[in-house]
C-alpha cells in the first residue's frame, strides 16, 4: 500500500505541475495576442490554436486531479437508495466499475490515436502532427483506470470527500 500511496502522490504532483504549465501557456499566449492586437493592430495567428491545445491538455490532465481531490460532477439523489450497511462494498464495486469503464475508453482512444498517426494528420494552423497531443486522451484515461483500481484495492487511499457538485 505504501508503494500505491507514493505512486498516487507522484501522479498528483505531476498532474499539478502539468496543469499549472497549461494554465500559464493558455493565459500568456492569449494575453500576448490581445496585447499585440491592441498595440500593433495584429495578433499572433497561431495563438488560439496553441491556446486550444493548452486548454485540452489542461482539461484532460485535470481529470486526474478531480479524481484524487473528489471533485467529479456526480448527481447524488440516489445515494441512499440502498441500505447504509452495504455502502463500503458498493463503493468498492463503484471504483472497480469506474476503473473498467476508463480502461475500455482508453483502449478506444488509443485506437483513434493510432489511426491519426497512420494518416499523418496535421493541424491546419500550426502544421504540427496532431497525434502527440491526442496521445493525452488515452494516457489520462489509463491513469484514471489505474487510480480507481488502486482506490478499489486500498479504500484508505480514496479521497475523503468523494464527490462535489459544481
Amino acid at each position: 500500500m505504501i508503494a500505491a500511496r507514493r505512486l498516487l502522490a507522484l501522479l498528483t504532483r505531476l498532474e499539478n505541475v502539468f496543469c499549472l504549465s497549461g494554465f500559464t501557456v493558455l493565459v500568456l499566449v492569449l494575453f500576448v495576442d490581445v496585447g499585440m492586437r491592441w498595440l500593433f493592430g495584429g495578433g499572433i495567428p497561431w495563438s488560439h490554436q496553441v491556446g486550444i491545445y493548452a486548454n485540452a491538455a489542461l482539461a484532460l490532465v485535470a481529470m486526474g486531479l478531480a479524481s484524487s481531490g473528489g471533485t467529479h460532477l456526480r448527481p447524488r439523489f440516489a445515494d441512499n437508495w440502498l441500505p447504509q450497511k452495504y455502502h463500503p462494498q458498493l463503493e468498492t464495486l463503484g471504483e472497480l466499475i469506474s476503473a473498467t469503464v476508463f480502461f475500455v475508453f482508453a483502449v478506444f482512444a488509443l485506437q483513434m490515436v493510432l489511426e491519426t498517426h497512420a494518416l499523418g494528420e496535421r493541424s491546419t494552423v500550426t502544421l504540427t502532427l496532431v497525434w502527440p497531443i491526442q496521445l493525452l486522451l488515452p494516457s489520462v484515461f489509463f491513469v484514471a483506470a489505474l487510480r480507481h483500481l488502486l482506490f478499489a484495492v486500498f479504500p484508505v487511499l480514496r479521497p475523503t470527500k468523494n464527490e462535489q457538485e459544481a
Binding site: 490581445v34 482539461a59 479524481s67 467529479h72 460532477l73 456526480r74 469506474s98 485506437q111 468523494n162
Partner: protein, 417 residues
C-alpha cells in the same frame, strides 16, 4: 425495451455513486453498441473534436479569474463601498449584500464563489447589525445565485457551446433578467427591513470608494469590453485574469506566487470535474443528432403540446424538477441540445430560451434535496439544512416570479441584441 434497459443501467450506475463522466461513457458505449454498429473509436474522435474548440477557452479563464478574486479582499472592498452607498435606505446593509452579490457575480461568473466570497464578509456584519438570521441566510443564498445569470456566466457559456448560440449574445441577453432579479430581491429586502434605522452618507463613502476602485474595475472591464464589442468572451476572460492578478499581486499585495499556484490548482480540480463531462455530453449530443433523435422528440412532443404556452409550462416544470436533483452543468449539457430544437419549433428565440433555461435552473440552487447553495450555506454559516430551506422560501417565490416574467416577456432578454 432497449431504452428501458439503458435507463435501468444508468440509474444503477448512479446508485453505485458513479460520476457523470462514467455514466456518460457507459451511455455512449451503449448507444454505439445498439445503434452505432460498434464503431467505438468514434467516441474518442468526437471527444477529441469536442475539446478542440476555441469557444471553450473562456471557461477555465473565468473560473481562474473568479477564484483569484475570491482569494483576496476584492469582495470585502466592494461590499464596504456598497454598504456605505446604501446606508440611507432602510435595510441598507441587506441591500448592499444583494448588490454586492450582483457585482461580484459579474466578476466571478460562479454562484458558489459569489455566495462564499460575499457571504463570508456580509454574514457576520448583517448578524451583528441585528438582521434576522433567516433573512440573512435566505438573501445570501438567493443573491448568490445571481452568479449564474449575471454575465459572464459559465452556464451561459455551456449553453452556447451545446446549442451553437452566440455566447456574446447570451451574455448581452443575460443583463436584463439579471437586473430584474436584482431589482425584485432588492425591493423585497427593503420592504422586509422597512423599520431598520438609516443614516446619512459620510466621508467613509469616499474612502471606501477609493479602496475599492481597482476591484470595481474588473466588472467594468469585462462587461464594458464585451458590451462595447471590443473584446470577445474569451478575450475578456484572459484580460480579467491578467487584471485580477495585477491587482491582487501588485496593487493590493495580498497574493504571492505560492498563493496564485494554490488557486490555479484548485481551479484545475474544478476544470477536471467539468470538462470531461462537457466533452462526453458533446459526443452524446452528436450521436443523438446523427440518429435524428432531437428531431423525433420535436415531432412527437410538438403534436402533444398544443402551443407555446403549454410548451413553456411543461419545459419549466421539467427544468425545475431536474434542477432540484441534478447539478446545473449536467442539466444544461444533457437537456439544452434536446430542448432547443423544440423551442425553435414553437418560434422561441434561442437566446430567450437559453436565458429562461438558466434562470429556471438557477432556482435549482435553492431547492432541496440537492440545491448547491443550500448545502454550501449550511457549511459556511453553520446552520441546519432545513433552516436554510425555510429561509430561502420567500426568495424562491421571488425567483419564480422573475422566471415567469422572463418566460412571458421575451424582450426582457432580447432587448439589447
Amino acid at each position: 425495451m432497449t431504452f428501458f434497459l439503458l435507463f435501468v443501467l444508468l440509474v444503477g450506475l448512479l446508485v453505485l455513486r458513479q460520476p457523470m463522466v462514467v455514466v456518460l461513457l457507459v451511455a455512449l458505449m451503449a448507444c454505439y453498441f445498439f445503434w452505432g454498429e460498434g464503431q467505438y473509436r468514434f467516441i474518442a474522435l468526437d471527444a477529441w473534436n469536442a475539446l478542440n474548440k476555441e469557444v471553450l477557452l473562456s471557461i477555465p479563464l473565468y473560473l481562474l479569474a473568479g477564484n483569484l478574486m475570491a482569494a483576496g479582499s476584492m469582495a470585502r472592498r466592494i461590499t464596504n463601498f456598497l454598504q456605505e452607498l446604501s446606508c440611507f435606505v432602510p435595510g441598507g446593509l441587506a441591500l448592499a449584500a444583494v448588490l454586492a452579490c450582483a457585482v461580484f457575480a459579474a466578476m466571478s461568473g460562479s454562484s458558489t464563489v459569489t455566495l462564499l466570497a460575499v457571504g463570508g464578509v456580509m454574514y457576520p456584519a448583517l448578524m451583528e447589525a441585528g438582521y434576522s438570521r433567516s433573512l440573512v441566510v435566505g438573501l445570501l443564498c438567493a443573491a448568490g445565485t445571481l452568479g449564474i445569470i449575471v454575465p459572464p456566466s459559465i452556464p451561459l457559456i455551456l449553453y452556447g457551446v451545446m446549442t451553437q448560440v452566440s455566447i456574446v449574445d447570451l451574455f448581452i441577453a443575460g443583463l436584463g433578467p439579471a437586473l430584474l432579479l436584482t431589482l425584485l430581491m432588492s425591493a423585497y429586502v427593503i420592504w422586509r427591513c422597512r423599520d431598520m434605522p438609516t443614516r446619512r452618507w459620510s466621508s467613509e463613502l469616499g474612502r471606501s470608494f477609493r479602496a475599492s476602485i481597482w476591484a470595481l474595475g474588473t466588472p467594468a472591464l469585462i462587461m464594458g469590453g464585451i458590451y462595447s464589442g471590443y473584446f470577445t468572451a474569451t478575450e475578456a476572460a484572459v484580460v480579467a485574469v491578467a487584471y485580477t492578478l495585477l491587482v491582487q499581486v501588485f496593487v493590493y499585495r495580498e497574493m504571492g506566487f505560492s498563493h496564485v499556484v494554490e488557486v490555479a490548482q484548485d481551479t484545475s480540480r474544478l476544470i477536471g470535474g467539468l470538462f470531461p463531462v462537457l466533452m462526453l455530453a458533446v459526443c452524446l449530443n452528436l450521436f443523438l443528432t446523427l440518429q435524428q433523435l432531437p428531431a423525433e422528440i420535436v415531432a412527437s412532443l410538438a403534436s402533444w403540446l398544443e402551443g407555446p404556452v403549454s410548451f413553456l409550462f411543461a419545459t419549466n416544470i421539467l427544468l425545475l424538477l431536474v434542477g432540484s436533483v441534478v447539478d446545473i452543468g449536467s442539466a444544461i449539457l444533457i437537456l439544452a441540445p434536446l430542448l432547443n430544437p423544440l423551442a425553435a419549433n414553437f418560434d422561441m428565440h434561442p437566446v430567450h430560451f437559453g436565458i429562461m433555461m438558466i434562470v429556471n435552473l438557477e432556482i435549482g440552487y435553492l431547492t432541496p434535496p440537492m440545491g448547491l447553495n443550500l448545502i454550501v450555506a449550511m457549511g459556511a454559516f453553520r446552520i441546519g439544512f432545513w433552516d436554510v430551506c425555510k429561509a430561502v422560501i420567500p426568495f424562491v417565490v421571488i425567483l419564480l416570479t422573475g422566471l415567469f416574467l422572463v418566460a412571458a416577456v421575451p424582450s426582457i432578454s432580447t432587448f439589447l441584441i
